[in-house]
């Protein structure tokens, strides 16, 4: 087996394009992913036009001054605003691709907000040349407008509660510069009670005053509850999040695990499938297995070659990514275990592909045709498709090494848990695909 391994390394050495790809591929992928995750804009660039006159930024509502620009600021927490002066300029920036979208606040925005008679409108422009981008812009801006809406609603609710408190308890109220004394229901109830006591027993107005007093009492008692009701209406649903399954891996850390798994998959699959199929294309298989090397030893040699090369390539890639993203080097031994287990998993299926296809080109094509959809299926999150379809995709994913390798790498890199289960899953797949590869060699010669 040693001499076969030396022979394969000699052949690899004489295939500079292939070796170049193996070396360049992880470096390029790691640099690209690293740059995308660490240097990319954390917020989408959005052109912003504020046509509201500066003086109109502050509106008077219920005797209280509200600075609407404070609420607009919330929007900028989620976007990188590119301030422009006109709507046309904003549209031009969207068309040229300089910004992802444009947000226009019309001049009558605050007046409409202050009137409370009709909703205030804002305009959003974006390119919908692809559905992913369209959804991204829609979601980002809708979420932020909803946040601003919620903040304004909260302020309005506070004002309404103040009004109700004034009506209930009484107090000072300022309107168009004039101060008013508001009696309040509580005091009205007390005054009417005192008046009733002073009236003669058979006074004809006593029943009417008693009716007004009852109204004042009932209204006072019930308006006491209105604070809570209005607070609830202002924020009817409060989200209280609990993670039931899976870790709390940040998106960029998970992306590292995905990138490493994809690289590991392609390098191992292509090398294992190609190097085995090459033995047949060179007609050497028949010569080798007539007593020089057993079929099982030949498979083992190809498996070690492919897994070993992919192991090194993936660790180089992770080291490259670590320049951009904070990876836990103290977990390096676990990285090695996860990468090695994944590499052998992909090597086993690669050997089965090589054994079944029997030609290098067919093996390479099959590796790509199988690898891409399997990776795609493994990344479908639960809840994004129907339960039945998700179960089917999960069952299919479980039959291939991508998902358990991703789980193992995520566990090793991000302490997401489940490493042992993923390794056991991979061990079963290695055994199953190893057996399939061995059987496929029966018709290989």
């Amino acid at each position: 087996m040693r001499w076969l391994l030396v022979k394969d390394l000699q052949i690899l050495k004489r295939s500079p394009l292939l070796v170049g790809l193996l070396v360049v591929y992880p470096i390029v992928i790691s640099v690209l992913i690293g740059l995308a995750l660490s240097k990319g804009p954390s917020k989408p660039r959005v052109a912003f036009v504020n046509e509201v006159p500066p003086a109109a930024n502050t509106i008077q509502l219920g005797g209280e001054k509200i600075d609407t620009s404070k609420y607009g600021q919330q929007l900028f927490n989620a976007i990188d605003p590119v301030r422009v002066d006109t709507e046309e300029e904003a549209v031009q920036k969207v068309k040229s691709g300089d910004v992802l979208g444009a947000l226009v606040l019309p001049p009558d925005l605050t007046n409409k907000l202050a009137s409370g008679l009709e909703p205030a409108h804002v305009k959003v422009y974006y390119n919908a040349e692809d559905p992913v981008k369209a959804r991204f812009v829609q979601d980002t801006i809708t979420a932020q407008v909803q946040k601003a809406n919620a903040a304004v609603r909260k302020k309005l609710t506070k004002i309404a509660v103040g009004y109700l408190h004034l009506i209930n308890q009484g107090g000072q109220f300022s309107f168009f510069g004039r101060d008013f004394d508001v009696l309040g229901l509580a005091k009205a109830d007390a005054i009417l009670g005192a008046v009733l006591k002073q009236l003669p027993k058979n006074s004809p107005v006593s029943p009417e005053i008693a009716g007004v007093q009852r109204f004042a009492k009932v209204a006072h008692d019930n308006l006491d509850l209105s604070d809570n009701v209005l607070q609830t209406v202002g924020e009817p649903i409060v989200v209280d999040q609990h993670v039931l399954r899976g870790g709390k891996t940040p998106l960029d850390a998970f992306a590292v695990a995905v990138a490493a798994t994809v690289s590991l998959m392609f390098v191992t699959l292509l090398l294992a499938a190609g190097s085995l199929a090459l033995e047949r294309e060179e007609n050497a298989f028949g010569r080798l297995v007539r007593g020089l090397v057993s079929r099982t030893a030949l498979l083992a040699e190809k498996g070690f070659l492919a897994a070993g090369a992919a192991f090194v390539v993936t660790l180089v890639m992770l080291a490259g990514l670590a320049l951009f993203i904070d990876l836990a080097w103290d977990r390096f031994p676990l990285w090695m275990v996860a990468v090695a287990a994944g590499a052998f998993g992909f090597a086993a299926i690669g050997l089965a592909i090589g054994g079944l296809t029997r030609e290098v080109r067919a093996a390479s094509l099959m590796a790509f045709m199988l690898g891409l959809p399997i990776a795609f299926l493994a990344l479908i999150p639960s809840g994004s498709v129907s339960q039945t379809l998700y179960d089917v995709t999960s069952a299919i994913s479980a039959m291939f090494p991508f998902k358990p390798t991703l789980d193992a790498l995520n566990a090793a890199l991000n302490d997401a848990g489940g490493l042992g289960k993923a390794l056991l899953h991979l061990a079963l797949l290695i055994a199953a695909y190893g057996a399939l590869a061995r059987v496929s060699l029966r018709r290989f010669g």
Binding site: K7, R14, N283, R287, G291, G445
Partner: protein, 234 residues
Amino acid sequence: MSDGALLEARGISKRFGEREALRGVSISASRGEIVAIIGPNGAGKTTLLSIIAGSQQSNEGDVSRPAGEVGWVPQQAAVYGKLTVSENLRLFARLEGCGDVEAVVARMLRQTGLEERADDQVATLSGGNRQRVNIAIGLLAQPEVLLLDEPSAALDPRQRERLWEFIRALAEAGTAVLFSTHNVAEAERNAHRVIVLADGELIFQGGTRELEAQVASNRDFETAFVEFLHKKGH
């Protein structure tokens, strides 16, 4: 094993699904003997040699020598194009377990006249030279029995003549040689004995004159061979 026979294959049968490629074929080869296996396409010539060489398993029958003791030269050169001539020889010499690998490689390069091309990648060689490397690998372990499947198929007449000179020299040194061929004239010229296979059955083995006598032909051996096949219903 029969007296003097270096190799015997007894009752070899091989099935591919429903199709019977070989039916109870028994052959032998003695020291210094050159035996040609001839027959129409699909007769089972390559299958028989592959089974004796250990590349394929038979369904029935047995071979007197283990595969490791038999030199095997498949029809298509079984060599690595990206390796040089000497690297190919060195690899297979190590796999064969040859003692002094470098000495064996040097000997084979000399015997096959490939010393000047030793450092060339096999992919850059002509078909004839590639076949010489193929044969050299089959001879690395100095086997007493050499099997060649259509050895001259890819060679021009000059290369073919050099190949047969080489093989005759091996036989004179005591090697038993079995080869398959489509070229009946080549079998007549070079073989001491011919074995005729048709539809997986052995229908004749003996000298070329004996076969001619069976059809009472007074024309050339190739015509006699075709008449013989007709007579046997093939």
